[in-house]
Symmetry: C2
Subunit: 225 residues, 2 copies
């Protein structure tokens, strides 16, 4: 079985991506980050999801002392109804954007993949029902793949490590339907940016999730708990 590095945040999209990678015949090696996010409890969800899928998980602690995001800085407010959220991420990029976060995550994934001699990285980026973050768009991943070919020894000497974004053009409801078919344990995932005991129901992430389950005609197992 070919190995693949899967970026697992503990949220709905990354959990689905993990199950897609497994379904495609890869042996996933999950990678999660503790980066000072308010919703640190998503790490616990990542651990549970990886365990349920029978995959290893590496959790890296990274330090972003400059913050620059409502997800990291408790003095900043998590927006309740960001104009950006929703289909196609119209409007301004919201305050929950973390400077260059996905570039940091992918660079570690690239290093991990090269060190363990694996050629594929999976990430649950989505540019349809999303918050409008620049590093979730297809053009960004296309460019990162071009960078990957130049950045590593394996890319130069043999074959570039490829970033795969299977959910990129799917609606949240389609992601959920696919995930339910693949047996993704959504009750173990965590999406809320606030990271309280129960989801707040009002942040971008909660709203996109609720919209997705509603459109999929399914009940969110997390909300019933």
């Amino acid at each position: 079985m070919k190995r693949a590095v899967v970026l697992l945040s503990g949220g709905l999209d990354s959990a689905t991506t993990l199950y897609v990678a497994r379904h495609l015949g890869y042996a996933p090696q999950c990678l999660a980050f503790h980066y000072g996010q308010r919703h640190e409890r998503e790490i616990g969800s990542a651990r549970k999801v990886a365990a349920r899928a029978g995959c290893s998980l590496e959790v890296l602690k990274i330090d972003l002392p400059w913050k620059g995001s409502a997800l990291l800085d408790k003095e900043m407010k998590i927006p309740q109804r960001s104009r950006a959220s929703g289909r196609q991420g119209r409007g301004r990029i919201p305050a929950t954007y973390v400077p260059a976060r996905n570039t940091i995550f992918l660079s570690f994934a690239l290093s991990f993949a090269e060190a363990i001699n694996c050629r594929d990285i999976f990430i649950g980026a989505n540019a349809l029902d999303y918050s409008g973050y620049p590093d979730c768009r297809p053009e960004y991943y296309k460019m990162f793949n071009q960078l990957s070919a130049l950045a590593t020894r394996v890319g130069v000497e043999r074959e570039a490590i490829r970033i795969q974004t299977p959910l990129m053009t799917m609606r949240k409801s389609q992601i959920i339907k696919l995930g339910l078919r693949l047996g993704v344990p959504y009750e173990l995932t965590w999406s809320c940016y606030r990271g309280g005991r129960v989801p707040c129901g009002a942040c971008d992430s909660c709203r996109l999730r609720a919209l997705g389950f509603a459109e999929a005609g399914a009940q969110d197992p997390l909300v019933t708990r």
Copy 2:
């Protein structure tokens, strides 16, 4: 004064780059990484160089548990006469290559630059008298700059953060001559991969440094100590 993020390793090239950025009128904000490198003492050099230049320094600790490099893994041997080292990095990429290291460093620099609202990042990459690392070549930086335009909020909404590589096409001797003119305190820098009490004189990094000083007709102040 415009601020710039300067990646400072504590070595000769990055110290020179810091002084070049300062000479160009930037107020440098230095960034160094503690990433499990054997020659951890370069961090001490980075602190001294930044202090001498009167600049702030942020030191981040990052974890690369997968290693995959002789610079990180004490079970691996640091090559003494890598075929790759020397002018134009001919031949194979040596065992001291750290998977995706510069991509990781640059992604943190991008995050830092965006958070402090600065548009320029300086790195002392050089593709002439170098070890043949893929992420030291001009094509890699050209691509990273294209990625930068897509990766960040500031890149999308206003202007991309730019990676500047002033030493890229210089010979080591030219770097040293320039640095001596700008007052770079080379006695505070550290290049040796082995990170002992004194430079080993045999690793790629020591050899390139010695060649540079010899060709510049200058005495390395570190060696006389």
